[in-house]
Symmetry: C2
Subunit: 218 residues, 2 copies
């Protein structure tokens, strides 16, 4: 597939790198076509990797991944443009963290709304799926790194076909089917984003963020 990853931070570069390894053509999008992090990544990642503007990255893509900070996600997606997102699977891995009062951040959107739903309302023709926002990037793309992969990743979205595409990507990342938990409609993204305040405090307490959760059932 042709996949645009918007955002050149650790999450964006890590996801883009794994997608290239998995055989996809990947464009890492940023504000300018000459962004140093993006161009450097593309040079290292080989012939399937490119750097481009948010607009050009999304224009060429079948799947778009929002890996930008939540505070700028809407602006970045507007730069990618409604036209270039129309009909496409848009995987939202961002979190609406509000750092204005220090660490740990609170959420800028929560409880009766979510960033994912805000994005869906702003780009109603995109097929938004919330996924992967619940853990750090290297765990997203290498679940076996923790407990032999015996922990969970979640999805939420209103489009079943789009979720099937995301589940396929998650399996390429190494997630076993029984650990890919589809929580139903995009509204469930509220739960996935509101996990962050607990995630942050577990991180603070144990001094590192190399962890994830496993749902333990009867």
């Amino acid at each position: 597939m042709r996949i645009a990853v918007l955002g050149t931070g650790v999450a964006g570069r890590t996801l883009a790198g794994k997608l290239v390894e998995s055989g996809h053509d990947v464009v890492l999008g940023s504000r300018t076509a000459t962004n140093e992090a993006a161009v450097g990544w593309a040079a290292e990642a080989g012939p399937r990797a490119k750097a481009a503007t948010f607009f050009d990255a999304a224009a060429e893509a079948e799947v778009v991944i929002n890996a930008t900070p939540g505070a700028v996600s809407l602006e970045v997606l507007a730069a990618a443009s409604t036209k270039n997102l129309a009909g496409k699977v848009l995987i939202d891995v961002a979190n609406p963290l509000d750092h204005s009062a220090g660490f740990p951040p609170s959420l800028s959107i929560s409880n009766t709304d979510s960033l994912a739903e805000t994005i869906q309302r702003a780009f109603p023709t995109a097929r938004v799926v919330k996924a992967l926002n619940t853990m750090r990037a290297d765990v997203m793309v290498a679940p076996d790194r923790l407990a032999g992969g015996d922990h969970d990743v979640f999805m939420a979205g209103d489009d079943a076909e789009a979720k099937a595409v995301v589940a396929g990507i998650l399996r390429e990342f190494g997630w076993r089917t029984e650990h890919i938990r589809d929580l139903g409609p995009l509204e469930s993204a509220r739960g996935l984003e509101m996990w962050l305040p607990l995630w942050l405090r577990i991180f603070l307490k144990q001094g590192n963020n190399v962890f994830n959760i496993k749902v333990v059932s009867d």
Copy 2:
């Protein structure tokens, strides 16, 4: 110890029952001394069990457990009285669920505050510890019921001695020390209460709430 459990719902009765089994003297508190659920519970639970008003239950107790719905917790604790809570360990297992817009509920307090902190501000001489709000009652008192007890319970509170008392009770319930995760100050209760929206959606999706989470680390 003498322990008051405020609230005669499933959580209150389940906690009270296990505490009696563990050898404590337990008073189940409710609005009236003749509450049917409380009196019935006390009759069945044996000589260490009593029913009383919130006020009388708290007056006799060394440890008080708030097992009331979050929406009425402040009112119930006011009935127990500031005087009867002063200096006591107050274990808050409640969640500030707002059911006014249907299921799943949102939170009435969240993000930059929590029910536990609200209670602590209202009763500054109580030693509030948030714990056990993250799972259903029968899992609270019988962790071995799931995966041989290989999952986690959290605590948050500003008083280290109070947290040690709570950890002791958790061990009596069957929690192994390595699964009792102290998340530090009471402010961390924000994370514990904001877990509920995700808990509710996992519940909705799997059709039952007999589950908990385990933090999987490196």
